[in-house]
Symmetry: C2
Subunit: 421 residues, 2 copies
């Protein structure tokens, strides 16, 4: 095989329309930011990936990109080293408040991830292999995802209602779930909670249970409850939920909740980097880790996390932020190659009406995503969409995720402070 | 790239001359057993590896080999699954008493390893890539090894003295160390202890320190000391040793030693599979794990272990049993690709006078092994040597490792029971 050496990188920020999904911090802005990373090689092969698109991420991606020409596309260790050096004394800045505290390690990890995924795509294209083959082989040819339910307004303030409709009570959530299950076949359901007082969200879960007697259910209030409230909700929903996600902030808080419930606790907020793992395990704070290659450091780092979960008897699933098809393809290849993926993965996909990859490669079948055929990630960048969504980025004025300000437009006293209940 | 599918496997047991090296269990037999694994593919490419050669291992290798035709050579997950099924309710049987308790998981892991290494060799040959490139990229182009010192008899009982000479006291050990350092350039030294009363071994370490003021020193009594004796030796050698290896049996015993010494403890006996890791970490039993791809489950499993060590702040080095060049090449590629290899690796290489790979690819330079050029492991099987060493296997009569019986020939009351001191 000829060498496969990085010659340059193109980073294109894009903005995609996003509905007014509610969470504990506030509400999604009208546009979500992503960046499309293209890593070019001397073989004429370009590897693709999708990353966060906020200003701090873009600055880090550009800093790191400048250090990549000359890198062997197989040299993941070299990538990590170069990114670490390039970012140097970077100021940690988390792309979203919903994935735990920012740190230098996480900033480096998310930057590494953006390029590592593209390198694997390039490797796969060069070898005529799927990314999942390069990650140890698919243990499943189709990856189960869960239907992701959100409380939402009918439309962004001052705008027409969107196609998804309002969902602000149990009936609305059940209707939303029916749409997701009918359309995509999801076999499990997750409600983004932490929006309304716990009683209302408990009622929504019971309504879902009545409407979907056999669907595993999850509830994620994004750390918007005190330990006491968490105990109350856990008691009310033990035997109903498959797991409870991030009820309360921090490892000690989660450990206090875990100590008094039989309900497994999951997290993508209190154990979000390898630095958090020892304390999380020692304190028994979580039973399931919701991994995310975007901020854990890429495919190999996610497999390292999977190995830790397997070794320590923790469950494993996958977290999602708003994303498009390049991320979905990456998540699917990774999930296909991780034997101990014990729960269906999260995805925001159904909420996105715009796409960056050409149609055909990614379609849910019975709530699961068949692994795209290779080579690489098995998806093709839609250049027209890229141009259009980049134009949308230039025009939309949004430069970092902010769920608080748009909520303040409706509730002037809103602070987004948690735990609120 | 064309497919790379396993078409068949050849397993050839060999016996190699081994000097009378002493340890806590007894003494090495005149021959050590290994097996050479050749995995054939439809591309005409054959992947190589070296494994244990005792009867139980061979039976498992053959059982698993029958399940491999049709396997994609990239599909490590599929290999693990097939081996697990093929071995089914295997009776656990450790190839040596010196690498911890046997278990089904370890039996499966060592069988997987034998084939996984060969699959990576085949992948590398197919892609024109070094194995270390496929493992994430070399973070070092030369892997440091330590000089492995043994108490030894002049020759096997009833035979002429061998070329290495006798070493039964501090002077003999220092002379041996000088030979190893002069000839190979090793920058650190490890004494296999647990042979003589601790005072004598402490004296040997002090003699080494006097002769080699700057060489990091290690002592490995293979769990032949009680906790009290371990405390005594640790106290005597704190500040002298780089680490103390497996002073006493079991995780609780090691934890009791660790609690009362500042000397880091290393192990290849009490934490030898992923099942041991949680207790080992929770009890603080060890500060350094001596990994070994042969029994941890291969390259990927060893990287998983490395990830755990990095995450939990444990040191990492590499254990060695008697081995030849195929294993040395595999160890070197793996060690080259593991960023957090924090100590020089062990190797028995200097004690082997016979070899299975063609000369030229493997030569220590300043105590370190340069990573062989690819493709694959970068070594070539010496077919004449294979035939000769297989003949030696057929003729030698040894079918599993047994350090006790040959010691009994000299000391009729010998039981090999530990801890003896």
């Amino acid at each position: 095989m000829s060498k496969l050496t990085v010659t340059g990188v193109t980073i294109t920020p894009i903005a995609v329309q996003d509905p007014p999904l509610l969470n504990s911090v506030g509400v999604h802005q009208p546009y979500a930011l992503r960046s499309i990373v293209e890593v070019h090689t001397d073989a004429g092969i370009t590897g693709l990936s999708e990353a966060y698109g906020d200003d701090p991420t873009l600055a880090n991606l550009h800093k790191a990109a400048a250090a990549l020409p000359g890198l062997d596309a197989f040299d993941v260790n070299g990538l990590t080293r170069r990114v670490g050096v390039a970012l140097g004394q970077v100021t940690p800045d988390s792309p979203t408040e919903l994935v735990g505290a920012p740190s230098v390690a996480k900033t480096v990890a998310s930057t590494v991830s953006a390029f590592e995924v593209a390198l694997f795509d390039a490797q796969g294209k060069a070898l005529g292999r799927r990314v999942c083959d390069l990650l140890g082989g698919a243990v499943r040819e189709s990856v189960p995802f869960s239907g992701y339910l959100f409380y939402k307004w009918a439309g962004h303030p001052g705008e027409e209602p969107d196609e998804f409709g309002e969902a602000l009570d149990p009936d609305g959530i059940v209707a939303q779930a029916k749409w997701l299950v009918d359309r995509y076949g999801f076999g499990s359901l997750k409600l983004k909670g932490g929006v309304f007082p716990p009683e209302q969200e408990i009622a929504a879960i019971h309504a879902l249970r009545a409407a979907f007697p056999d669907h595993p259910l999850r509830l994620d209030p994004n750390a918007n409850w005190t330990v006491d409230t968490s105990h109350y909700v856990a008691g009310a929903l033990e035997g109903v939920l498959e797991y409870l996600e991030d009820p309360t902030p921090g490892i000690p808080g989660m450990a206090a909740v875990a100590a008094r419930t039989g309900l497994p606790l999951a997290t993508n907020m209190c154990v979000t980097s390898f630095d958090d793992v020892p304390a999380g395990i020692a304190q028994g704070a979580v039973q399931i880790i919701l991994s995310d290659h975007h901020f854990w450091g890429g495919f190999r780092a996610s497999q390292k996390l999977a190995g830790i979960c397997e070794t320590f008897g923790l469950g494993l699933s996958m977290h999602s932020n708003t994303h498009l098809g390049l991320s979905l393809a990456a998540m699917t290849h990774l999930a296909a190659a991780v034997p101990n993926l014990t729960y269906a993965c999260d995805t925001h996909s159904p909420w996105q009406t715009e796409e960056i990859v050409e149609p055909g490669a990614l379609s849910f079948v019975d709530g699961a995503m068949p692994v795209p055929d290779g080579p690489g990630l098995g998806v093709t960048l839609d250049r027209d969409a890229l141009a259009r969504l980049h134009g949308q980025y230039l025009g939309c004025g949004i430069r970092r995720r902010d769920d608080i300000t748009p909520m303040r437009a409706v509730h002037p006293d809103w602070t987004g402070e948690r735990p609120r209940f």
